[in-house]
């Protein structure tokens, strides 16, 4: 991925927030300082159970590497009144890191 392309993508982060695709948040790695950042919060429905079907929202947190570098497991992301703990990385590219989070 070229640096110019990465720069263009990163320039879109404020736009994502402006149109409501991303939210203001804080990111705190275990033992680290709190960083103000932008995140996207998505929900992936998962079903469990064999007799009854219990569907629950699996929380997916997208973080922008330009703002926080490489996120780590156990970091806490706070979005408004909601707090998420990063549990498992599912996507990681030059721009973003997407994590399944526990709430």
């Amino acid at each position: 991925m070229s640096n110019a392309f990465v720069a263009k993508f990163n320039a879109l982060i404020p736009v994502f927030k402006a149109v409501g695709l991303a939210d203001s948040a804080t990111y705190t790695a275990p033992g680290g300082a709190t960083i103000v950042c932008s995140v996207m919060v998505d929900y992936n429905l998962q079903s469990i159970g064999q007799i009854e079907t219990l569907s629950d929202k699996q929380k997916l947190i997208t973080l922008f590497k330009a703002e926080i570098g490489a996120p780590v497991r156990g970091a806490v992301v706070v979005v408004g009144a909601d707090s998420y703990t990063l549990a498992s990385r599912t996507i990681d590219d030059d721009f973003t890191s997407v994590w399944i989070a526990n709430q």
């Binding site: 159970g49 064999q50 007799i51 009854e52 219990l54 569907s55 997916l60 399944i100 989070a101």
Partner: protein
């Protein structure tokens, strides 16, 4: 006509599961919500809760007067979990269901017309079903086998 034998047995077992409460010495209050019909659940429902359903029904033997059957019932428990207590909660709910079912006796079914339960035992797998990461619930299962005879009354018509 009275209810079907399998359904009547299942309802009595459900009634025994309803005893699961903290006040009765159990870990959870799962007895407050026992489902015997299959429904779809989500986070807006009340938990913990238990669903009870027939898993298999097998004919063991037939005589001129009765059919002997073995019915496997599965009690499936659902409980919300936090970031670091899923296994802990699973063991507590599984223990509650196991204890409640372990207290059921063959004699508890004496009121069912034309049915005699000969054996009721907690038997078979008692798994904890693995939840996808990030899902805030865990599911456990406990199975029982009910062996019973259904007496066949003469046809009336």
């Amino acid at each position: 006509m009275s209810d079907a034998p399998g359904w009547s047995i299942l309802q009595i077992v459900a009634d025994r599961l309803a005893a699961i409460s903290v006040a009765n010495g159990y870990y959870t209050a799962a007895g407050a919500h026992i489902d015997t019909e299959r429904v779809a659940l989500d986070e807006a429902d009340t938990f913990p809760r238990i669903a009870l359903a027939e898993e298999t029904m097998t004919t063991l033997a037939q005589t001129t007067a009765a059919i002997n059957s073995a019915m496997v019932l599965c009690a499936e428990g659902y409980i919300p979990v936090g970031v670091d207590d899923a296994e802990y909660q699973a063991h507590r709910l599984k223990a509650d269901i196991t204890r409640a079912l372990g207290r059921v006796k063959s004699g508890d079914f004496e009121g069912i017309e034309n049915v005699r339960v000969t054996q009721f035992e907690v038997k078979g797998d008692r798994p904890t079903l693995r939840s996808p990461e990030g899902v805030a619930f865990i599911v456990v299962q406990v199975r029982v086998t009910v062996t019973f005879a259904e007496y066949i009354p003469p046809a009336t018509g």
